[in-house]
Subunit: 203 residues, 2 copies
DNA sequence: ACCGTTTTCGAATCTGCGTTAGAGAAGACC
DNA sequence: GGTCTTCTCTAACGCAGATTCGAAAACGGT
């Protein structure tokens, strides 16, 4: 039996390789999409040969499935943590905070988020089931934010909350398609987008 | 030499098959994405066997390339026709009209637009070159719309016009991911989105 | 230094799909 | 009805990429 520290180190080495594979898969998925992501690309990026993947995952689909699920869960966790960290705030302020949370996790914090955003709608059924359930819960949080806004009378009358929600999420998600981390700080983007969202929804 | 009418009929039959293939390809591309689109699916949808494709196109990539190029050109043509058809209008009214044009071509008029929107950013270089050039020109039109708005002092101060443009186009493009033609009329969506865009940008 | 376990790799297999080849059907014109 | 052209199909090829296998390497404990 290994001593505590070595066991920890051993476990962590294996765990770290596994993690490298997941991270690599998330990156490739975010760039090439589900059908375009080859195991060789993922393996390369994780500094391994392709067959090594099968030591950690039963199949390509299982690996991808885990990336998707992790990504969706991370987005929701980040959003909910952000909202809970808010001192009592107006519905609109909560939405503004959610906008920032979404953009940061999408563009700065997590390749997994990018993978989710760009692939959620083009995955084959078996792979997407668990992930889509998680995405649905994420959407539920936003549905709540919009409902609160409307209940407070702060949503422009006539606007369908469902359309408003997809409008905002669409604008946010699309940033993954064009935002270039190289040029310009994220802060400026966040501020502009918050301003536009606020005015797009306000009564 | 065939008589006029039969020549026309013959030509049109061949042309129609070719067209069916392009249409089928546009639909499949819009659903599965570039890497996920198989020739068999396209052929099936066009009521042909896969090898028949090669009578009309040199390769899969050429077929797809033409779909992309056609799609991008169609979007731009539709947008420009719409704008030209406008009696002198304020910059904001022009943008509102552009919003409707974009949504209609994306959701109602053309599978090609959907194909472009969902694939423009994940195509391999060789296929995307011509299409992306066309997309760039489409973006230029929008860039002009935003510039005019700003010049007229009607863009909220502080907003980066480039960010504003991507924000709006993102919200519009994302509709391809969730809008279900089955339920609800497009008119309602258009009205809501126009309202949100207007307020998002207004000074 | 030696042994068992964990982890990785090179080589081989299997499968799906783009593509080619060549023969046959469907017309068009005489 | 014959023949030439246009179009489409069936069968087969070749490659790329997922997966499997068995052996080697790396590692931890003694």
């Amino acid at each position: 039996m290994p001593s505590e520290s070595t066991a920890a180190r051993a476990a962590s080495k294996s765990a770290r390789t596994r993690q490298r594979l997941l991270d690599a898969a998330a990156e490739v998925l975010g760039e090439k999409g589900f059908a375009g992501s080859r195991l060789v690309d993922i393996a390369d990026r994780a500094q391994v040969q392709a067959p090594a993947i099968y030591y950690y995952f039963p199949s390509r689909e299982d690996l991808i499935e885990e990336v998707m699920h992790t990504g969706a869960a991370a987005m929701r966790a980040h959003l909910q943590r952000t909202l809970e960290g808010l001192s009592p705030a107006s519905p609109m302020d909560r939405i503004t905070a959610a906008v920032e949370a979404h953009l940061r996790v999408e563009l700065e914090l997590s390749h997994y988020a990018r993978a989710i955003i760009r692939n959620a709608n083009q995955l084959p059924e078996p792979v997407s089931r668990r992930a889509l359930a998680e995405v649905a819960r994420y959407n539920d949080v936003w549905r709540g934010l919009l409902a609160d806004l409307q209940a407070a009378g702060a949503l422009r009358p006539g606007l369908d909350p469902a359309v408003a929600r997809m409008f905002v999420l669409g604008a946010l998600n699309w940033a993954a398609e064009w935002w270039d981390p190289e040029r310009g700080a994220l802060d400026a983007l966040v501020a502009d987008v918050q301003s536009m969202v606020r005015h797009a929804l306000s009564a």
